[in-house]
């Protein structure tokens, strides 16, 4: 699936999505929905590769916030175009000090990318049908901002 990280197209995604804990891949870096991760935390600690989690607005973020440093990547799900909970989840994760890759999944829309970046996302996963390189322009359409956010906490009057 097309993937942008730090405003650049990335050909290979190192993360394998696991949705069934019965058959954990023997190797590689794994991405698990938060619930599945929590259920299988002990088994996963034996994995050779790294572990990332996928969260959405229905999840209680507490266990993630308690061990932020253990995740190199957190994926935030946007289950529907108009479901904006992921914007707040991103801000909470960044505010808590998460420094790793924060990826919007679930087909984020081109016209949301600027806002997503401002909320702390730096990676975006799209479906093959919708993506075009035109998406890269979305980050630069609005170059100034009034209010602080994850990208720059300063409101306009404290900038410059």
């Amino acid at each position: 699936m097309p993937l942008l990280i730090d405003r650049k197209p990335v050909a290979d995604d190192r993360w394998q999505l696991v949705e069934d804990a019965e058959n954990l891949p023997a190797s590689g870096d794994l991405l698990l929905p938060l619930g599945l991760y929590l259920e299988n935390k002990d088994a996963l600690s034996a994995q050779a590769g790294e572990i990332a989690v996928r969260v959405n607005g229905d999840d209680d973020l507490t266990p993630v916030l308690e061990s932020l440093d253990s995740f190199p990547m957190i994926a935030v799900e946007f289950p529907a175009f108009r479901d904006g909970r992921g914007f707040s989840l991103a801000r909470i994760l960044r505010r808590a000090g998460f420094k790793g890759e924060l990826r919007a999944v679930g087909n984020p829309a081109r016209d949301q990318l600027g806002y997503m970046e401002r909320c702390g996302f730096n990676a975006y996963e799209f479906s093959e049908e919708v993506y075009s390189d035109d998406f890269l322009k979305a980050f630069e359409e609005i170059s100034v901002h009034y209010q602080g956010s994850a990208d720059d906490p300063r409101p306009i009057y404290l900038q410059s």
Partner: protein
């Protein structure tokens, strides 16, 4: 008023180009209907019954003469020569062409205007008292706070895809002229025991399908904490508000479901995380914004005018207009004028290109180049010298904007209804006309006193019918328009929701029903009692009896 700097200008200019590209991609089939829907709504563009509708923002109702002229120009060039003022103090155009909207937005940007966040599930235009800064009963001018909220909420990256729309109103006077208690957030400038001025914060008010009066979440909030507290409320709402049913998605439903105490706890817990962040307002920034709303250079000599008194004594029509369509000004010798957009035979809130230009000229000549729009769908010239009132009245009268009906039954709030709106179930404009025709005797209206009549063409309540002393709601019954009537509502400091009178009445019977309500009021009222007070005292029953007994 607030004047754009380079950054403000850049934001609106870039926004225009962004929308131009979005429109191009949509017309080229590159952008889905659903995605274009969200982005066009956040730029004020609806697709209505006949044509697109573009809603232009008038931040907290304040507008300059050049901006009014631009609105007139847009009405003429891109529309059918008129616009319509809304209860959100915005103006909407009913006939623009989709492909021309980017050009309209570019024209607006030339005069520091835009259509950003006038629709969609985001933070909408903040509204306030139309007499802000000039009314004698004010603790502090609310407009600088509206501007601070405008900047914070404009293109806020986190709150553009909220569960539902979000409206904030700010008042600076104990008299509430902004319907603040039926807003998602109502902010009242108040003084605490220590003598400091801050905000009482209400949350969870709203109209629509489930009308609710806002609840106090905080009795006093320090000014510097305004944005951090708003952000905390919005974040809790964004994460917890319902998204499964659009009719249950407003913050009022969340607050009701959680209970105000539990909701407050969540907000305060979130607030603790961000209270001491860069969201805290600095004194320098507050002072900078306040600098844009300083009192005008009023003429100290204005109070010595004697011509007004002479004119009032010599011209009866002028005196009547003065009594009903003006408001006291805190500066001696000045008066605030309400420009009535409630003429006999035009839809409430409608204004032509020429009228927009006339108001622009009057503002420029007599009111420091500014006007205001009100949530009751009128305009205000807030700073007119008493000596100039006669000239202003003559000009307004010449252009059909001086009907002396402000605060009376025919100063109706009316949504556009089925004639224009894609959501409406029933027509409203024909009913308003019926009422205007039946109640054309101004002396009778003056005797009835203050009556807020609000009408909506559907349950979404854009016409604020629940908070009308008389509310009229259009409903569709098997393809026919019927009207449900409520009485006893108020959107003022004594806010209350109207109670249903009884079964809906047929379209032809609305004015006749109102007559019976008013007869009952006249029979029942005590001296000095407004219609709404009488309903509160005697209840709905006597009104109901009169209306429905006569029907048999």
């Amino acid at each position: 008023m607030y004047i754009y700097n380079e950054v403000d200008q850049k934001i609106v200019d870039e926004r225009v180009e962004q929308f131009r590209d979005q429109t191009r991609r949509f017309l080229a089939g590159e952008l889905s209907d659903d995605e274009f829907l969200a982005v066009r709504l956040m730029n004020g563009l609806y697709i209505q019954r006949h044509a697109p509708m573009l809603r232009v923002a008038i931040p907290y109702g304040l507008i300059s003469s050049p901006q009014l002229r631009k609105l007139g120009h847009i009405a003429r060039k891109y529309d059918k020569g008129y616009g319509h003022f809304t209860t959100r103090t915005n103006i909407q155009y009913n006939w623009p062409k989709l492909e021309e909207v980017p050009d309209i937005l570019a024209e607006l940007a030339e005069v520091q205007m835009h259509a950003i966040q006038t629709s969609g599930n985001c933070i909408r235009n903040t509204t306030t008292d139309q007499f802000a800064g000039v009314t004698p009963d004010e603790l502090e001018d609310p407009r600088p706070w509206c501007e601070i909220i405008r900047q914070w909420s404009t293109l806020h990256p986190e709150f553009a895809y909220l569960p539902r729309k979000f409206k904030i109103a700010v008042t600076g006077s104990p008299r509430d002229r902004a319907a603040s208690q039926v807003h998602d957030i109502g902010l009242h400038l108040v003084q605490n025991d220590a003598g400091e001025v801050g905000f009482e914060v209400l949350v969870g008010g709203g109209l629509g399908r489930t009308p609710v009066i806002g609840k106090q979440i905080r009795p006093f909030l320090a000014k510097k904490d305004l944005l951090s507290y708003l952000e905390a409320i919005l974040r809790v709402y964004n994460l917890k508000g319902r998204r499964d049913n659009k009719y249950k998605a407003r913050i009022k439903i969340l607050v009701e479901a959680m209970g105000i105490d539990a909701f407050r706890e969540e907000v305060e817990a979130e607030w603790a995380n961000i209270r001491d962040s860069e969201l805290g307002l600095t004194d320098a920034e507050i002072d900078r914004i306040k600098g844009f709303f300083q009192p005008f250079a009023y003429d100290a000599d204005a109070a010595n005018d004697t011509s007004l008194q002479q004119k009032l004594e010599s011209d009866e029509a002028f005196r009547v207009w003065y009594e009903h369509n003006t408001h006291n000004h805190k500066v001696p010798g000045y008066t605030a004028v309400v420009v009535s957009l409630k003429p006999q035979l035009q839809p409430a809130g409608d204004i032509t290109d020429l009228q927009l230009e006339v108001v622009a000229d009057l503002a420029e000549q007599y009111s420091f180049g500014q006007a205001r729009s009100t949530h009751e769908q009128n305009l205000v010239l807030a700073d007119v010298k008493n000596a100039d009132l006669y000239a202003v009245w003559q000009k307004l009268a010449e252009h059909n904007m001086a009907r002396a009906n402000i605060g009376t039954l025919t100063d109706m709030i009316v949504c556009p209804g089925f004639d224009f709106c894609g959501l409406a179930n029933a027509k409203t404009l024909n009913i308003a006309e019926q009422i205007n025709t039946a109640f054309d005797d101004l002396d009778y209206l003056y005797d009835l006193g203050e009556i807020r009549l609000n009408m909506s063409g559907c349950i979404n309540a854009c016409g604020h019918h629940h908070v009308g002393a008389i509310g009229i709601l259009g409903v569709d019954k098997k393809g026919e328009d019927w009207y449900q009537i409520t009485i006893g509502g108020s959107d003022r400091e004594d806010a209350s929701l109207g109670k249903v009178l009884g079964k809906a009445v047929a379209a032809d019977d609305v004015a006749e029903t109102l007559k019976k309500l008013l007869e009952t009021y006249v029979e029942q009222r005590t001296e000095e009692e407004r219609f709404v007070d009488t309903v509160r005292r005697v209840g709905v029953a006597p009104f109901k009896e009169k209306v429905y007994a006569a029907a048999h």
